[in-house]
C-alpha cells in the first residue's frame, strides 16, 4: 500500500504534538543519519533514529507508535551529542512513548522485572526503567 502524504499529515496535529512535547524542531533534521550511525541500539531497532525523525516529519503516526524503536532508546544522548542540527532525539523518543502510552499502551511495569533483578538491581535502574517505559 502506498503511504499517503498530504498537508493534513505533514502539518498535522501529530507533528505539532511531538514538537510540543519534545521541544525539538523536527524539520531541522536533514536526514544525515549520524544519529543512527552512532546509536548503540540501532541494530536492534525496527526504525533507525533518523527514520523516526523522518516518520515524524511525514506525520506517520501509526507506524511510529507501533514501532519497537521508541521502547528501545535508552536516552544515552549519543545521537544528540553528534547531531549536526542539534536535535535531541531522545526527547522525541520520550514524546512518542508518552503519546503511545496515552493511547493505552502500557509497555513496562515493575511487575515485569524478574524478582532476581529486583533484589539486586540498583534503585536508580528500577526508577529509570519505570519512568522511561512505564506510564
Amino acid at each position: 500500500m502506498r503511504t499517503e502524504i498530504s498537508a493534513r499529515k505533514v502539518k498535522g496535529e501529530f507533528l505539532h504534538q511531538v514538537e510540543e512535547l519534545s521541544g525539538q524542531s523536527v524539520w531541522a533534521c536533514y536526514q544525515c543519519g549520524c544519529c543512527s550511525s552512532g546509536c548503540p541500539i540501532a541494530e536492534e531497532m525496527d526504525l533507525l533514529p533518523n527514520q523516526v525523525i523522518r516518520y515524524v516529519q511525514l506525520g506517520m503516526e501509526e507506524e511510529l507508535l507501533a514501532s519497537k524503536t521508541i521502547w528501545l532508546c535508552v536516552s544515552c544522548f549519543q545521537c544528540f551529542a553528534r547531531c549536526p542540527r542539534g536535535i535531541d532525539i531522545s526527547k522525541i523518543m520520550d514524546a512518542l512513548r508518552q503519546m503511545a502510552m496515552a493511547g493505552g499502551v502500557d509497555r513496562f511495569g515493575p511487575g515485569e522485572i524478574p524478582s532476581a533483578e529486583l533484589a539486586r538491581a540498583p534503585q536508580q535502574a528500577l526508577v529509570t526503567v519505570v519512568r522511561k517505559l512505564g506510564a
Binding site: 544525515c32 543519519g33 549520524c34 543512527s36 550511525s37 552512532g38 533518523n50 553528534r82 549536526p84 542540527r85
Partner: protein, 650 residues
C-alpha cells in the same frame, strides 16, 4: 534669487491622462522663483530636450525642474542636456509625477494637486542646491594582489597583461597556493602542476609584475585610487638575486623537518625549496628549524653556497608601495582534523584529510604517487572517504557546504581505484553536489564504472580497532547501521578562511560574513567587489570554490580593476557630507555613525573632517550630528525642512 524653470511632461497620455499638465504649469508658473514654466508631450525626446536647453539659455535659468518620470529613468538624460548648455548638472532636478503620481492615482483633481505638491517640493530643494562637480581623484594605476594561489596568479596576470603594474604579495616562500598541492583536477583530470606551473613561471618573468613572496601586507592606508601599502618582507636569509637553486646546500644541512607543502608526509631541510617548481625558485632558511642563526651554530650551507647567496644577517624589511586597487585572494585552509574529535582527533596517522591524499596521489609527492598509508607504508586495500567532515554542521563545526569536497572525493576515489585496482573505495555522503559542467557525468562515471561504493549517511565515529580503522556509519537507503574496517580513511574536511586572514581582513577593514569569508558588495550583481571601494575579491577567500570558478572570478576582479584604471580620473558623486567647522563641537558622534570610516578627527582643531573620497553619501552622520554641523551636499536639513513644508501645503 535663483531663476528657476519648470518643464512639465505629459508623457503622451501617461501623465496627461490623470494629471492636468496645463494646470500644473499654471500653478507653478506663479510659484516664487519660477521664471519660466511650460509643458511638452515628450520631454525626453530630442525636441523636448532641445526646448529645455533653449529655455535655459534664453531665460538665463540657474536651475531647472523636469516634472516627469522617475529620476531613475531620465535624471541622467536631463542633467547631461543641461550641462551641454552650461548649466551645472546638479542644478537640474526631477519631480517624479509619473511613477509616483499619475500611474498610481485615478482622480484627476487629486493627482493634479499631488503633482503640484511634488513639483513644489523639488523646487524648494533646487532653490538651495549648490553647483557641484564630481569629485575627481587622481589615481595610481597600479594594483596590489594579496595571495598567490591560482586566484591571485590569474588576477595578477590579467591585470599585468593589460599593461598595468601589479605587486603580488604571497606569505609563503612560493606562490601556487593549494592548487600546487593537487595531483589531478576534476572533472577532466588534468595534472594540476602541468596547468599551473606555466602560469607561475609567467608571473616570475612578467615585466609588469613585482612578486613579493615570503611577505605579508601589514598595513593599508589611503583610499580607492591611492592606497598606501606597507608590506613586510620576511628574511629568507638567502639573497634572492644570487641563489641559483643549485641545491648544494640541501646536501649539507643537518636538520630534517616535516615539509608543510607535503602536509607533513614528506620532509625538507632547514634550508629548503618547498617543492621543485616553486616560484621564485630560491631557497629559504627556516629560522626556527635551523641549528642557530643567532648565534651562528652551523654555517654549513653558507660554506657550500657557491654564489654566496646565504646571508645570515638578513633583516625583515618593510616595503612601502602606492597602489590604486587591491585584489584580495588569500584563499582557504582546511579545518584542522584535531577539531574532528569523533573522527580520530587528528591523532591517527591513517585518518588523513583531502590534501594529504592529494600529496599521496601526486607523482611528485612523498610516495611518488604510490598510495601508501602513513603509519606503515602499506598499500591500503579498503579505503573509506568521509564527505562533509565538519561541513554542514552548524552545531559543532561549519554551518556551510564547502562546495568542492563532493567533487574532490569522487576524484579521490577514482584516482585511488586507478592506482590500486584491487582496492575498494567507499564514500559516505549526505548529498552529492555536482553543480558544474561535466560534474554530474564525472560522478556517474565514478559511481557506475569505477566500482566506488557510495553509502548515504553521515559517519558517526572512527577509531583504531586492532590493525584496522573501524568506521561506524549508516546507509539510510537500506536503513541499516553499517560498519567498515578500513585500512585508511580520508576525511573531506571543510574549507575555512586561510590562516591569518581574520587579522588581515580586520586590518584592511574588509567586511566578512559570519564564517570569516570576505563579503561581496552584492551577492548577485557585484560578486567580485568588496563594499569598500577599491577592493576586489577573488577565489576561495570569498567562500569555498573550485578552480574553474576561482579563475572566472579572478578574471572578473581583474577586469574590474582594469575598468577602473582605464578611466581618466576616478569620479565620485559629490553629494558627500560636509562639516561646518564653526558649528562642530568635536563630539565625534558622527564618526561611529559612518559605515565607511570617512570621518576623521582633527586633534588640532578639535573638529571632525570628512574624507570626501571615502564618503558614500548615506547621510547617517548628518542625522547623528547633534549640532547640525554636518550636512549632506544638496540634501541638507534646510532643504528637507523646506520640502516637508511644501509637502504639507504651506
Amino acid at each position: 534669487m535663483k531663476r528657476i524653470g519648470v518643464f512639465v511632461c505629459g508623457c503622451g497620455i501617461n501623465i496627461a491622462k490623470t494629471v492636468d499638465v496645463k494646470k500644473v504649469v499654471e500653478e507653478i508658473g506663479h510659484y516664487p522663483g519660477v521664471v519660466y514654466a511650460t509643458d511638452y508631450q515628450y520631454m525626453c525626446s530630442d525636441p523636448g530636450q532641445k526646448m529645455i536647453q533653449e529655455a535655459i539659455e534664453r531665460e538665463h535659468l540657474d536651475g531647472i525642474i523636469v516634472a516627469a518620470c522617475s529620476p531613475t529613468l531620465h535624471e541622467f538624460t536631463f542633467r547631461r542636456a543641461s550641462e551641454a548648455v552650461g548649466l551645472n548638472p546638479y542644478q537640474c532636478e526631477i519631480a517624479n509625477i509619473r511613477e509616483q503620481c499619475s500611474w498610481v492615482h485615478q482622480d484627476k483633481e487629486i493627482a493634479t494637486a499631488k503633482a503640484i505638491k511634488i513639483t513644489k517640493s523639488i523646487i524648494e530643494k533646487e532653490r538651495l542646491n549648490d553647483s557641484l562637480s564630481p569629485i575627481s581623484v587622481f589615481m595610481t594605476r597600479r594594483a596590489l594582489v594579496i595571495g598567490g594561489g591560482i586566484a591571485g596568479i590569474q588576477a595578477a596576470l590579467d591585470i599585468a597583461d593589460s599593461g598595468y603594474e601589479v605587486i603580488l604579495v604571497e606569505k609563503e616562500p612560493s606562490i601556487g597556493g593549494h592548487m600546487a598541492q593537487l595531483s589531478e583536477t576534476f572533472p577532466t583530470l588534468d595534472c594540476s602542476q602541468c596547468i599551473l606551473t606555466p602560469k607561475m613561471v609567467e608571473i616570475s618573468h612578467h615585466p609588469k609584475i613585482k612578486l613579493l613572496a615570503y611577505s605579508e601586507v601589514v598595513n593599508v592606508g589611503g583610499y580607492v585610487g591611492n592606497f598606501n601599502v606597507k608590506i613586510l618582507k620576511k628574511p629568507r636569509y638567502v639573497k634572492e638575486d644570487l641563489c641559483n637553486n643549485c641545491g648544494e646546500c640541501f646536501k649539507v644541512c643537518p636538520v630534517v623537518v616535516p615539509n608543510e607543502f607535503e602536509r607533513g608526509l614528506g620532509s625538507r631541510y632547514a634550508i629548503y625549496i618547498p617543492f621543485p617548481q616553486a616560484v621564485p625558485s630560491i631557497c629559504t632558511i627556516d629560522a626556527d628549524a635551523c641549528l642557530g642563526l643567532f648565534p651562528l651554530a652551523c654555517n654549513k650551507c653558507k660554506e657550500v653556497c657557491e654564489p654566496n647567496a646565504v646571508d645570515y644577517d638578513m633583516k625583515p624589511e618593510i616595503i612601502e608601495e602606492t597602489v590604486g586597487a587591491i585584489v584580495v585572494a588569500t584563499g582557504y585552509d582546511l579545518l584542522p582534523s584535531e577539531e574532528l574529535k569523533e573522527y580520530g582527533n587528528g591523532r591517527n596517522p591513517d585518518i588523513i584529510d583531502g590534501l594529504h591524499f592529494e600529496r599521496l596521489l601526486s607523482a611528485s609527492g612523498p610516495t611518488q604517487g604510490v598510495i601508501r598509508r602513513p603509519s606503515d607504508g602499506k598499500v591500503p586495500k579498503e579505503v573509506v572517504f568521509v564527505q562533509c567532515a565538519g561541513s554542514r554542521d552548524p552545531e559543532k563545526h561549519l554551518p556551510y557546504c564547502s562546495k568542492f569536497c563532493c567533487m574532490y572525493t569522487a576524484k579521490h576515489a577514482l584516482l585511488y581505484k586507478h592506482r590500486v585496482p584491487d582496492g575498494q573505495p567507499y564514500i559516505f555522503y549526505i548529498d552529492v553536489r555536482t553543480a558544474g559542467k561535466g560534474y554530474e557525468e564525472f560522478y556517474h562515471r565514478v559511481s557506475e564504472q569505477e566500482g566506488v561504493v557510495y553509502l548515504r549517511g553521515k559517519v558517526s565515529k572512527i577509531f583504531q580497532d586492532g590493525d584496522g580503522l573501524m568506521v561506524w556509519g549508516v546507509d539510510t537507503l537500506t536503513g541499516k547501521k553499517v560498519e567498515i574496517t578500513a585500512d585508511m580513511v580520508v576525511l573531506a574536511t571543510g574549507a575555512v578562511p586561510a590562516e591569518g586572514s581574520k587579522k588581515l581582513f580586520a586590518n584592511l577593514k574588509l567586511a566578512c560574513d559570519e564564517n570569516g569569508f570576505l563579503s561581496e558588495a552584492h551577492p548577485k550583481l557585484r560578486p567580485v567587489e568588496s563594499l569598500t571601494p577599491g577592493f576586489f575579491l577573488a577565489g576561495a577567500a570569498q567562500g569555498p570554490r573550485d578552480i574553474p570558478e576561482t579563475v572566472a572570478q579572478a578574471g572578473g576582479a581583474a577586469s574590474k580593476v582594469i575598468g577602473m584604471f582605464s578611466q581618466e580620473m576616478l569620479l565620485h558623486d559629490p553629494i558627500v557630507a560636509v562639516v561646518d567647522e564653526n558649528l562642530c563641537s568635536g563630539c565625534k558622534i558622527c564618526i561611529s555613525a559612518c559605515p565607511y570610516d570617512a570621518r576623521e578627527f582633527d586633534e588640532e582643531k578639535n573638529i571632525v573632517r570628512v574624507n570626501e573620497l571615502l564618503c558614500e553619501g548615506c547621510g547617517a552622520c548628518v542625522a547623528a550630528c547633534p549640532s547640525g554641523a554636518t550636512q549632506q551636499q544638496n540634501i541638507t536639513d534646510d532643504q528637507i525642512r523646506e520640502m516637508v513644508k511644501v509637502v504639507l501645503g504651506e
